[in-house]
């Protein structure tokens, strides 16, 4: 019996320590000169660390900018960063941590749709804004009135890309390669549906799992279907690998893909092989608009690299949240949600943001292409 005894005692001690910490935390009184806290949930370590760190950089930059111009409603903002490791369980635990902390007024994140969906019931129950910069799962924003996504769903983006491929570029036969996760499946599905609707033919569809590095087998198979162009539903890292290996196979053809391909990393990793790639963007780092110039210059100065689409979205998310708080005139969680829902034509770096009733953003897209190892606007030609 002494073992059971020891077990129970141990547990009690652990719980005691934890609750002690909680009590100590509770004693801090909220001061008026204390900042207003925003939570950021992002994969700082693990497979998606690259994207999570971009979130962190952008949100911190946005907060510094907001605070430099006097904060929101006379108070400074501060961010608490939580590392979800890209693990849905961690994301949900963090959601519980944020929602049970009365200092925190709203949350930005997470990166993947699965993480966002896992955390959703918690935000929904507690009543806190869950503003994801990147979740594009069609079930996400409509799942709760507290959930918002500013990336725009594939249902909005793919008709535009299909039109680009069919009408502007004149492709009739396209082969599709996509990553087998929620995002990739959605992207490929909306693209093929829309492309077929226009009268095009999909010659073959193949998918791969996250973490795959060798695409030669899939590419060889797709090549045999003899398409005019390749549609690549992949993030920029995989996109660069696929292009590299395609070039090694001696298969040269134009490539079309979603906005997630837009990143300097694609050019750096893909080299010559990514030329003749067509995609759309709602954020373009070489845009001459002064606010984008200011953001890009500052980002490069701080972190020594060019911001990509995901970074810009995270920046927009923070700025949008600050704007919603201003419009709400309050830091009340419920009021922030109402103001956010009412967002109309918010001028973001990645296009203006207007939410649908369900909480998805309607975006505008610009056609771009890679030429001479650089992203260029397509329509300027």
């Amino acid at each position: 019996m002494s073992k059971v005894l020891r077990a129970i005692l141990l547990l009690a001690v652990v719980l005691g320590v934890v609750s002690n910490g909680y009590a100590a935390g509770k004693q801090e009184k909220a001061k008026t000169d204390e900042p207003v806290y925003i939570a950021l949930t992002a994969p700082i370590t693990g497979d998606y660390a690259e994207y999570g760190n971009n979130f962190k950089r952008s949100v911190e930059m946005a907060i510094d900018k907001i605070n430099a111009s006097g904060g929101v409603l006379g108070r400074k903002l501060a961010v608490l960063v939580g590392d979800s490791k890209g693990d849905p369980k961690e994301s949900a635990t963090l959601a519980q941590k944020w929602t049970s902390d009365p200092k925190i007024v709203a949350q930005i994140g997470d990166f993947t749709s699965t993480c966002c969906l896992a955390a959703q019931p918690i935000y929904d129950q507690a009543g806190m804004v869950q503003l994801s910069p990147t979740a594009s799962h069609t079930k996400f924003a409509q799942g709760s009135k507290w959930s918002f996504s500013i990336v725009g769903t594939q249902a909005g983006e793919q008709p535009f890309i299909a039109d680009y491929a069919y009408n502007k570029l004149g492709f009739r036969k396209i082969a599709v390669i996509h990553i087998n996760n929620d995002w990739g499946v959605d992207t490929a599905r909306y693209f093929t549906d829309n492309f077929k609707k226009l009268g095009g033919t999909i010659t073959a569809i193949e998918n791969y799992f996250d973490g795959e590095k060798d695409f030669t087998a899939i590419l060889t198979k797709l090549r045999a279907s003899n398409p005019d162009a390749l549609f690549m539903a992949a993030m920029y890292n995989d996109g660069a690998s696929i292009s590299n290996q395609r070039a090694k196979l001696g298969w040269n053809l134009p490539v079309v893909g979603p906005s997630s391909l837009y990143s300097e990393q694609l050019l750096k990793l893909g080299g010559d092989s990514v030329n003749n790639l067509y995609t759309v963007v709602s954020f373009f780092a070489d845009d001459p608009k002064p606010e984008i110039r200011a953001y890009v210059t500052e980002f490069e100065k701080r972190y020594g690299l060019k911001p990509n689409f995901h970074a810009a979205l995270a920046y927009d998310a923070m700025m949008l949240l600050a704007d919603a708080m201003k419009r709400a005139g309050s830091f009340d969680r419920d009021k922030i949600r109402e103001a956010l829902q009412a967002t109309k034509d918010f001028p973001g770096l990645a296009g203006s943001i207007t939410f649908t009733e369900k909480g998805d953003a309607i975006k505008q897209y610009t056609r771009v292409m890679v030429k001479n190892n650089k992203f260029e606007l397509f329509d300027k030609r």
Binding site: A49, E50, F209, K213, A217, R223, A224, Q245, L269
Partner: protein, 288 residues
């Protein structure tokens, strides 16, 4: 197309084979699966990347860096974790290798950042076309290097005294000790050798795929483990055969079935072999 898939498979198989050897050398002497192999592969790749980026654009130098890094990591793991745990239940050493794997991946993320790095291509010109399939020089180089390393290892194991010690220890560790073989040193050597092959594989793989990042070894490690079991965990020629066969079967599996089922092929082979022929293709029955 069939020729192309075969060439794809053989190139990929060279990397699998090197990693499978890494598993086999260590499993052979210690009956221990080193789950840090994938992470060692990654560290080797980073060493190669650093060399190419800061020292010289020379693939041989990069491979040397990968070899040294892998060797040191293998040596270190053995010294820190395995030596003190020898004779303890295998689970302790196994958990230790998992700990090392996590540690290396995360420390690489902290040091180098999570962003994927570009590894330059070498010998990327077209060598020849065969039945509609393009072969670049690097593929030939990769296959050639892998085969050379495999031959060198064979010579080391079958023609040298150290190799004799490795073979003896893998037959029976206690008796080998009684016969005057320095078991400690032999196990340490096996670990270092395993690390070194994984390190070189990292450089070769990263040049082939042109990328380096902290998580690049995870799937690679797991798949080559299947390859090693496929060929027979205790046999080095078996591991080589397993590596090549697994990659070729995988590539044809994509061609015939679908890319979605690609990873399953390796594991179905793994489970199938365990159930029906647990010693693998070339494994010896007695040594298991």
């Amino acid at each position: 197309m069939i020729v192309q898939q075969l060439i794809n498979g053989i190139t990929q198989g060279s990397i699998f084979a090197l990693l499978a050897i890494s598993f086999a050398v260590i499993y052979g002497v210690l009956r221990l699966v080193n789950f840090a192999t994938g992470a060692t592969y990654m560290m080797g790749a980073f060493a190669g990347w650093l060399t190419v980026r800061y020292i010289s654009q020379n693939i041989f130098l990069a491979m040397l860096a990968g070899l040294c890094t892998g060797w040191s990591i293998g040596f270190l793991i053995e010294k820190v974790a395995i030596k003190s745990l020898r004779g303890v239940a295998r689970i302790a050493s196994l958990i230790c290798t998992i700990g090392f794997s996590i540690f290396m991946i995360e420390i690489a993320t902290v040091i180098f950042g999570a962003e994927t790095k570009a590894m330059p291509s070498f010998f990327n010109e077209k060598a020849f076309t065969l039945g509609g399939a393009t072969v670049v020089w690097y593929q030939l180089f990769l296959i050639g290097t892998a085969v050379t390393i495999l031959l060198l290892l064979q010579i080391l194991i079958f023609k040298t005294k150290a190799g004799l010690a490795i073979r003896t220890v893998s037959l029976d560790f206690k008796t080998a000790g009684l016969m005057g073989i320095n078991v400690d040193r032999t196990i340490s050597l096996a670990f270092s050798l395993g690390g070194a092959t994984a390190g070189i594989a990292g450089v070769l793989g990263s040049v082939y795929y042109n990328i380096v990042n902290p998580t690049m070894g995870n799937l690679q490690g797991l798949k080559s483990f299947s390859a090693a079991v496929f060929g027979g965990l205790t046999s080095i020629p078996g591991a080589i055969l397993g590596g090549y066969l697994l990659a070729i079967v995988e590539n044809f599996g994509v061609q015939i079935v679908s890319g979605g089922y690609r990873d399953i092929i390796g594991f179905v082979i793994l489970v199938g072999f365990l159930l029906f022929r647990p010693r693998g293709l070339l494994g010896k029955k007695t040594s298991l």
